[in-house]
């Protein structure tokens, strides 16, 4: 089937077999390997993407569900000139990345959270990230980073 959708701000087309999963289309056809497959069953969040403004798990979506949608992967977060998105910068500044495998999913979930709730409490940040597992960091610096990003994005940051 032929699919047409918006991917990281650009109109794209793709031909794919009917049963292909979204994660496979994004990784294999579009080479967007920032979308990770951690568990294949919706339990880890590493495959998270934005569909419209909402996070979804691409390992539990068929490619045809992308049709007509506005899709953002982690590769779409930075600016045209390579400037990191405030959430990405906050992850760097706060030391929230170790192996990096959970990071794309964490960033996507953070964006979903901040779109719904621009000034989340730490409890709300935990809830917003509760679909993403991290084996390295113990989560604290990830929560610090999302908190810092929310301040920056709301205009209260140091920058």
């Amino acid at each position: 089937m032929l699919l047409k959708f918006t991917l990281n701000g650009k109109a794209v087309e793709a031909e794919c077999p009917p049963g292909m999963r979204a994660v496979d289309l994004l990784r294999e056809h579009f080479a967007l390997t920032g979308v990770k497959e951690g568990c294949s069953e919706g339990e880890c969040g590493a495959c998270s993407i934005l569909v419209g403004n909402a996070s979804r798990l691409s390992c539990l979506m068929l490619a045809c569900q992308l049709e007509g949608q506005d899709i953002v992967t982690v590769e779409g977060l930075q600016g045209e000139n390579g400037v990191l998105h405030p959430v990405q910068q906050a992850f760097v500044d706060q030391g929230a990345v170790q192996c990096g495998y959970c990071s794309p999913g964490m960033l996507i979930s953070a964006l979903d959270l901040l779109a719904r709730n621009p000034r989340p409490s730490r409890v709300q940040i935990r809830e917003g990230l509760s679909g993403n597992l991290c084996r390295c960091t113990g989560y604290q610096k990830i929560i610090d980073a999302v908190e810092a990003a929310s301040l920056t994005m709301a205009g209260d940051g140091d920058d």
Partner: protein
Amino acid sequence: MINQVWEPRTIEELLLLKTENPNAALMAGGTDLLVWMHSGRRAVFQLIMTGRVPEMTAITVSDAELTIGAAVSVQQILDHQAGRSGWPLLYKALNTIGSPPIRHMATLGGNICSASPAGDSLPALYIMQARVELAGKAGRREVPACEFITGPGRTTIRDDEVLINIRIPRPPGSQRFGFIKLGQRQSLAISIASLAYAYTMGDQQKIDDIALAWGSVGPTVMRFPEIEAGMRGRMIDIPLLESAAPLVSARVQPIDDIRASAAYRRLVAGRMLYYLLE
């Protein structure tokens, strides 16, 4: 291996596809189906996606009841102000499903049709006397949710039928309610035991009417009318709950599985009643 996917845009198209292809699986959010397909638990060759059918993706509120399309996402239900304020027990239960992205994809219709003994929406739906509306070759019919689900993974849906809507009567505003879910984690957890409760108070702080429903401690949601009857007219206090808890433990039918032992579930099913003191 899926070799055919349809995405009907109208209810007529959907029903025609289902009657012509009785072996086709239906998919809305896919948060159970795609997991089963990946693990090999279900072999699916034809798939009918329901997410673009207007009637199945609508929520309507009237004075009398809440109607939720079977393909409405859990998050859309949670975001619906009138639904949330009139049916707060449902809101509490839905908030325990999966995780944020799962709630953006999963549907109430799917939670019902999957009919897991651990389905998080189910105890609340039973207490709230929810009904499901099905459409098929023989037309439409409505069934109480508690009669629709017959066992683990089993419902009375026919091969040519599609679950279209869930209808829930408006509960009394004075009702007190709660939903407790015990799991190994606070999120992304399949429940080990759960309890939905709702009651109204009469004179002198005595229970007027009460409904209790347990999940994950039997093949389907469990209710015990005789225990409920015994609580009517009584005050909610420790003596009442101390006498009721062992009656619950004696009646539930839990199993041992990777999440918990039957013995633990049996014990905790009774103990969860103490949450009524909150």
